[in-house]
Symmetry: C2
Subunit: 261 residues, 2 copies
């Protein structure tokens, strides 16, 4: 690494911009310009204290800004690093097309394999439970539902946590209530049970994660989540499934095709 003064400038005492913001600005710009590359270690707190002639808390304050922006992450005992942009998983709007369902594996496994990643599914939980207000409304005022919870990982990194809710009168006693729903997933089973799927409705929000989501998805600070709620409708117009998904936003790009008609 080049010497600090050659990368970072000095402070402007006449500026009304707070010192810790000025430091954050300089570090951010250096990162943007590629003076610090992805995964690279930034100068230590002590070095910056020395360089700028400020106290350590001021430097830490600067780092905390960059952390909130998702630009860097600190590792206890090692240093502060430029956060690498992880490879993203693209979700195409045709990902539930029937033709993708004919094969054996789940959509997640197939896609990940194709992308050369190592996919895993864990924390599988299948149980009957009371539907929350929102789920109940979306499914048409059902009281109890079958909930299928699972977490998806790519190369060991959790990227998505999803829960499917199905009305008991549809799912109870079927393979949908089993941990392994069989080839083509629960959508294939639903169609076999006579619920020909007609269309899906997806609602998308983005927000900062709750503490429990941070834990489940092992999220770095400064990484939002995408909250997707999908409702599946059969040809009779009935909502047959609601899938509530929370995704690490830095791992996904969602893609949709809209007709212009």
């Amino acid at each position: 690494m080049a010497s600090l003064p050659s990368i970072l400038g000095g402070l402007d005492p006449t500026s009304d911009r707070a010192v810790f913001r000025q430091i954050a600005d300089q570090l951010r710009e250096a990162i943007d310009r590629g003076r610090f590359k992805e995964g690279e270690k930034l100068p230590s707190e002590a070095e910056l204290v020395e360089h700028y002639g400020v106290s350590r808390m001021t430097v830490r304050n600067s780092f905390s800004i960059l952390q909130g922006e998702g630009l860097v992450h600190a590792e206890h005992g090692r240093g502060v690093f430029v956060r690498p942009r992880p490879p993203v998983r693209r979700l195409a709007s045709d990902r539930f097309a029937r033709r993708h369902r004919e094969q054996g594996k789940s959509a997640f496994i197939v896609e990940a394999d194709a992308a050369g990643s190592h996919p895993t599914v864990d924390s599988l939980e299948v149980k009957e439970e009371k539907a929350g207000q929102d789920i109940s409304t979306r499914l048409g005022s059902v009281r109890r539902v079958l909930a299928r919870r699972r977490r998806y990982l790519l190369d060991g990194r959790p990227v998505e946590f999803a829960t499917s809710y199905l009305p008991l009168d549809i799912a109870r006693g079927t393979q949908i209530a089993e941990p392994n729903p069989g080839p083509g997933g629960i959508y294939a089973r639903l169609e076999e049970l006579g619920h020909q799927l007609d269309h899906f409705e997806e609602e998308i929000r983005a927000r900062m994660p709750s503490p429990s989501e941070v834990k489940t998805l092992q999220l770095a600070s400064g990484v939002p989540v995408i909250h997707l709620i999908r409702t599946a409708f059969d040809t009779s117009g009935r909502a047959v499934e609601v899938c509530d998904t929370v995704m690490a936003a830095d791992a996904y790009v969602l893609s949709y095709q809209l007709p212009a008609t």
Copy 2:
């Protein structure tokens, strides 16, 4: 407000959870339980210092956690407040349907009026410029483009900043290059120019805002942005427009309909 000890508990010195995290946990839980309501003022730093018997920086540290989660926001000289969840704007996937285009006003104005909000559009800029790498690729290797920039506000609050890029050979000299593109917007003009629209492609990402986005959208800390890139294709398969939109995530829910075929 009830007395502090009745709302907030004490600290657990035996816990290995940091004190400032314990305080943040208690405040978060109190907010979730509704002990502090939306827009309500939290106890001041001094009060919490007194209640917990810790130093002021520790309390501020707790607040900064909650701020990062988007739960609270501080106002200089006034206090720390529970951040109200603003009314959200729903974007339906049929928002570009031709029938919505026949009327005079823009989609944004019509929707906002219907929702009882007061819509504004400002920072209008229309100019020719060099296309960036990404835009150029999406439009099919064009070098220069017409860029239309505008910011949308609801009841005075900025919620969205959008830039439309169009190939010069299509847009130059037409009403599309005027500040006011006329009734139905640029999509109506494109169709009049013989570019019958076929479909749109939308890419969605979520991330923390850059400092300039924080400024433009007046974002509170802990609010991510939704980054949407829409490409419009005409019936010949040509990309005729790319619209790059950055939205305040707390102001939007995106909604899509997908066929199951």
